[in-house]
Symmetry: C2
Subunit: 281 residues, 2 copies
């Protein structure tokens, strides 16, 4: 018996309604039994993930344009930064291109919203990670009414065309929504307040954003419904348990890298001749 | 008794002649007893390195401009890439900015040699790693006579001024020459030839470069003599033993981060008030 891939369990079906209220943030679908087992299973993926990454990079030196882009979205404290640290940290940093998107700068605001995203894409052979992304332009932009509703509306289609062009250019796009509960967010924000070493991560604005929780959940549902496509599906990752979140993201990446199946390129030189020349030195 | 810092043992003294022939590439000064102990000691530095990195990054969110730049130079197979993988891999990748410099592109050749380097510098709070650097412009440029000798000569002073300006702007520059022996390079190149999965890392040009070994050693001696300054010293890291190289670079970084001594910034909000607001949600 072959286990059903995690990507099938967590994928948002294209063209269907999504009700986040019916997805349990504390669930652990197909996951290890507990935290200890989860951590061990994640650590055990470091070797195969690193091996795939090396082959992906090696293949790019021979002209293979394929690469992988992990897009992380989620409410404050959902664990985007923790995922970068614990999952992206499993890879060789030299082949990773990590970008945390903040509020757009003055220069960025003068360009179309995808401009800054195009500049941060992984190059052939690389593993890219976006901590927030162009989805902010249909999330906070919608909730905070930063642009008119009809412009937000057009952006879903723009995003789908953009991501399809990425897929055509060899980019495997893996989009993960880190799904936490309202209660878990409160507990994590409190933990930040109660530890002075974490005050730098906290802002009173976080509480204002939290007050808009229902509007954000709705904006996420819309974004995930409209933009979960065959070329670039969305995955809802239950994230109340950090160990499950790290395991699930690692597993999703592993499944996609297995599908890419990069191979070491052959050398274009005469091994015997080089060997002889080298031994003569 | 306090052990003498590794940085003092490995530093190239400013203003003195350097004879690389008298530095043993297989030495393990102040290092652990063997490979197993070396690996364990390096792994044990992951926690303090990560902790310093987080504090450095946190401080930058409150305006602290300090950051660290590790510059890696060395002959082919000396382990620049391996150091990035095993040492930079100890840090949180979101706070690392890693740049591997290749032969300059057409665009880069149209600019002064420091242009592409300035664009790749770590931002405040980041750990930067250069795999090769502006030193190629006084190494291969000298050995291969890519530019006239008097221009190479002027570059040493330009580099010193550049690195002093970095230090003035809060950049701790740690320059490590990975010192391997001629015999060890042969063994490593042969190992690449003998493993088809490593052929992508090999080029017959590597043998041509190897033929210029004495000229490169001389170019390194000159660069390290001229550019080991108070603001940005060079360290000669014996690199025939990979485990020692990884330990020594980790230790050098730890010593420099300890000296920087970054602190978590205090919050600028009323904790009690935020706590009450949060508990009401």
């Amino acid at each position: 018996m072959t286990a059903r891939p995690l990507r099938e369990l967590l994928r948002v079906p294209a063209g269907q309604r999504l009700d986040l209220g019916r997805r349990d943030p504390a669930a652990t679908p197909a996951g290890p039994a507990d935290k200890a087992a989860g951590r061990a299973a994640t650590a055990a993926m470091a070797q195969p993930l690193g091996s795939f990454q090396e082959r992906l990079y090696a293949a790019s030196t021979a002209g293979d344009r394929r690469r992988l882009l992990l897009v992380l979205q989620g409410m404050d404290t959902s664990g985007k930064g923790g995922t970068v640290k614990h999952v992206a940290g499993l890879f060789n940093p030299s082949g990773c291109r990590i970008k945390a998107f903040k509020a757009p700068t003055a220069e960025e605001r003068e360009h179309p919203f995808l401009w800054r995203v195009r500049k941060a894409l992984p190059q052939p052979g690389e593993i890219g990670v976006f901590d927030r992304s162009h989805y902010e332009d249909v999330l906070i932009a919608r909730v905070r009414e930063l642009v008119p509703p009809d412009r937000v509306e057009r952006r879903y289609a723009e995003i789908n065309r953009f991501e399809e062009s990425l897929a055509d250019d060899g980019v495997t796009v893996v989009k993960a929504f880190l799904h936490i509960s309202y209660e878990e967010q409160r507990a994590r924000l409190l933990a930040r307040l109660d530890n002075p070493d974490k005050h730098w991560k906290f802002s009173p604005d976080d509480i204002d954003e939290r007050a808009l929780w229902p509007a954000y959940q709705e904006a996420y549902e819309l974004a995930l419904e409209r933009c979960s496509t065959g070329a670039a599906p969305w995955f809802v990752v239950p994230a109340d348990h950090k160990w499950y979140r790290n395991w699930a993201i690692s597993k999703l990446l592993l499944e996609h890298l297995e599908e890419i199946g990069p191979r070491y390129p052959p050398g274009d030189f005469d091994v015997g001749e080089c060997r002889a020349r080298l031994l003569a030195t």
